[in-house]
Amino acid sequence: MTDPDRPDYPIDEAVEAADGQPVAPVSQTRRRVLALGAAGAGAVLSIRPALAQTAGSVLTCQIPVPDSGRAGSFIAPDGSTVPAGTKGAFAPPGRPFQGEDVKRAMAGGRLPGTTYESNRAYVNYIRRLQRGQGGFTCFASLQMPRG
């Protein structure tokens, strides 16, 4: 970043001060400024793979709650999976949720066929999905901004 007030060339000729008196010659080279503070986000941005783009824009997708690896488990209010019949947890919905329904629920709506509490439990489950779990790709694609 070049400071316009500091030229990039050696200044070794005599320089006059503002009152007209000569001052000692300046022989050091002016170098460009390098700021190491990197205000804001930092100096390195890594490009993340656009896996979610693939799914979201070419297909309507669905999210099973829970995924097939945990079929039969109940969903606790915080979204974790617990053994069937656990007190306070909710039975899984009968069928997967469609992408559009999940998107609406993320924005404050309610998943079809749910109560306030069971909706919150299922949404928390979905929010906790990790790569490799069924429904993750669909969920990730819903997060990508459109347009």
Partner: protein, 89 residues
């Protein structure tokens, strides 16, 4: 502790003012770097340096501001895999 940059033939670089796009061949990852990251990588081109030696090398070529940020910037480069930390010789 010294810091070693990825060798020159492990990187592809393209200038996208004001950023520099860098492709790291071993990982297949792409990063966008902004000053002072490209200058730091260039200063490590001839071999690994400690943070204080890197500071001196940069100070010889540039007028440094916020010099205490050097460690944080180095941490970013290490996290991205473009620089590795190794024990001092």
């Amino acid at each position: 502790m010294r810091f070693r940059a990825a060798p020159a033939d492990a990187l592809l670089q393209a200038s996208l003012d004001p950023f520099t796009a860098v492709f790291h061949r071993p990982s297949g990852q792409t990063h966008l770097l902004v000053s002072p990251a490209p200058e730091m990588l260039a200063a490590l081109a001839d071999g690994p340096l400690s943070l204080s030696d890197l500071h001196d090398a940069l100070a010889a070529a540039f007028q440094l501001e916020d010099a205490e940020g050097l460690a944080d910037r180095m941490a970013e480069l290490v996290a991205a895999g473009l620089v590795t930390a190794e024990p001092a010789a």
